[in-house]
Symmetry: C2
Subunit: 323 residues, 2 copies
């Protein structure tokens, strides 16, 4: 089985979810329709729905019920992306906001609010209080993660632990919850549900670490955005933290200057060049691999079959994401 | 009975809710704590909790259950205020955003997200699916209302209907839901619950119309913000719409110029002066009174007693808000 086979096997159900996603953001408001549809069409891998569907196969698979989880989870993910972009967008205009730019931002903020509200409305159809509790706790921790990210901007004195805590809330949590709830609503064995949640968490951590590495070593063409966009925004990721703590004195000074002056001293290209040639990249890659090993280990405790094989392939894919 | 008596009678229960509000936004994050606590301390009339408590008296009054509704509703209200302020704040800096200003905005956006997430987490403890459905539908309509508000900025061709639709979503809806859910979770007679919801809606409409009038005729000292802040942001409210449709030719041209140029031609003081001396103010006041009469009418269908008398006093207060 290959990665594409997963999507092929789930094709019909994913298409249904895609349709539901489209319907869920439909509104009579032209502006809202435009921004929400644009977001939807940007697509993405729909990892959260895939996790929900695959985890649902460890219990009584019922796509009608699973989509009621999958759709809100994907919408919550989309809403968080929109809010992430709100201020970045303003920044690219170099602080000179026209009235129009101001409104665009505001529209983006409210588009996020709206998509989020839609997610809640769909989720409210689910009867089980346990689902709401898992979901609302995750949303809360995610919103704390967003604030932690801002707090740590341009902060050199970050520990590895703090970084891991941050990406957990930013990425791993929602993937963990996708696996957790997919298993839960299908009535899978509680021990399996626990394993599924852990799997989602480990894969999510590896995914984000890899993403952060790609942002440093990747090029604009593959990334679809300029390389180093994290650092440009002051987002200090693992490879940079590594160099700040264990790099050569010259590299440390270069990066410290860049961060202390919030990017006004030194060039981003130079910083990226140094970090991408440092041991920080290998270190991050090894850490991602460790998380993936843990994911594989926890999978081995689940019953074999197509669902488990699919989850294994996804973990493998996360490890192999090409630069 | 006077207005203060309502608060006196509910004092113990409101104090409990206040404490819960404080606890609900407590977090280990300094930045979040600061902004959320600041918001809480700014206080306000806590109208939504008051509506929940009073409506709960038409069934089996249980403050333990009512606070699980009152706290999220007040938090949702607060979160919407924070998001309302996000871009306004940026605008007062005249478009010149420092890095710090950028972060402040971002922090404000995420503070709103966080408070909102907290509200959901508290609401998730409530077992009844009906409550979640009422709540999530209201949240969705509110977020649509926010977008409608932006769409209508500086728009001269607004009808009265469109204005009413907008303030319904902005204000009246959450008040209606407060009354609705207070009655619902107390197991009040369904017909009474319907009346309570209508009461909240009518009072909410009157409240917002009055608020919009005050923003034009009030002074900075009583308002706690500069007069005309609605118009400064391009928010075209009822008295202005009235003048645009039925005012003298001179007034119409003055306001049209101001709006068409997004405030660059003409002075805000002159516009405010014209509108505040126009028939638009009396028209808006009469419309608010009509809503309050409807609120009184619907109250008369509820059983008499202290709760009904309190709701009547609140409606009276909304009509008498001093300029």
């Amino acid at each position: 089985m290959k990665l594409q086979d997963i999507y092929r096997n789930l094709r019909r159900d994913l298409r249904w979810i895609e349709g539901e996603l489209g319907k869920s953001v439909e509104t009579e408001h032209h502006q809202l329709n435009r921004s929400a549809t644009h977001l939807l069409e940007a697509g993405g891998k729909r990892m959260r729905p895939v996790f929900v569907l695959l985890s649902g196969q460890f219990g009584r698979y019922d796509v009608g019920r699973l989509k009621e989880i999958a759709v809100p989870l994907e919408l919550i993910h989309m809403a968080s992306l929109v809010h992430d972009d709100v201020i970045d967008d303003a920044a690219t205009r170099r602080g000179r906001q026209t009235v129009k730019a101001k409104w665009d931002n505001r529209v983006a903020m409210y588009t996020g609010d709206y998509i989020f509200a839609r997610a809640l409305m769909i989720a409210s159809r689910i009867g089980e209080p346990a689902v709401h509790q898992v979901l609302s706790r995750a949303i809360m921790q995610m919103s704390q993660g967003e604030i932690e990210q801002i707090r740590d901007f341009y902060n050199m004195d970050q520990s590895l632990l703090r970084y891991l805590h941050r990406i957990k809330r930013k990425t791993a949590l929602l993937m963990a919850v996708s696996c957790h709830l997919g298993g839960l609503v299908s009535g899978a064995d509680p021990e399996w549900v626990r394993c599924l949640r852990l799997y989602g968490y480990f894969v999510g951590m590896a995914f984000q670490i890899t993403d952060d590495v790609l942002d440093i070593v990747g090029d604009e063409k593959t990334l679809g955005k300029p390389a180093g966009s994290d650092l440009r925004q002051g987002n200090v990721t693992l490879p940079v933290i590594y160099v700040l703590q264990r790099g050569s004195r010259k590299d440390r000074r270069l990066i410290a200057n860049y961060l202390e002056t919030e990017g006004r001293v030194g060039s981003i290209e130079e910083v990226l060049h140094r970090v991408s040639r440092s041991d920080g990249i290998g270190y991050a890659d090894r850490l991602a691999d460790r998380y993936l090993e843990k994911a594989m280990e926890v999978l081995s405790r689940l019953p074999g079959g197509e669902a488990r094989e699919s989850l294994r392939l996804i973990a493998e894919f996360v490890g192999d994401r090409s630069y």
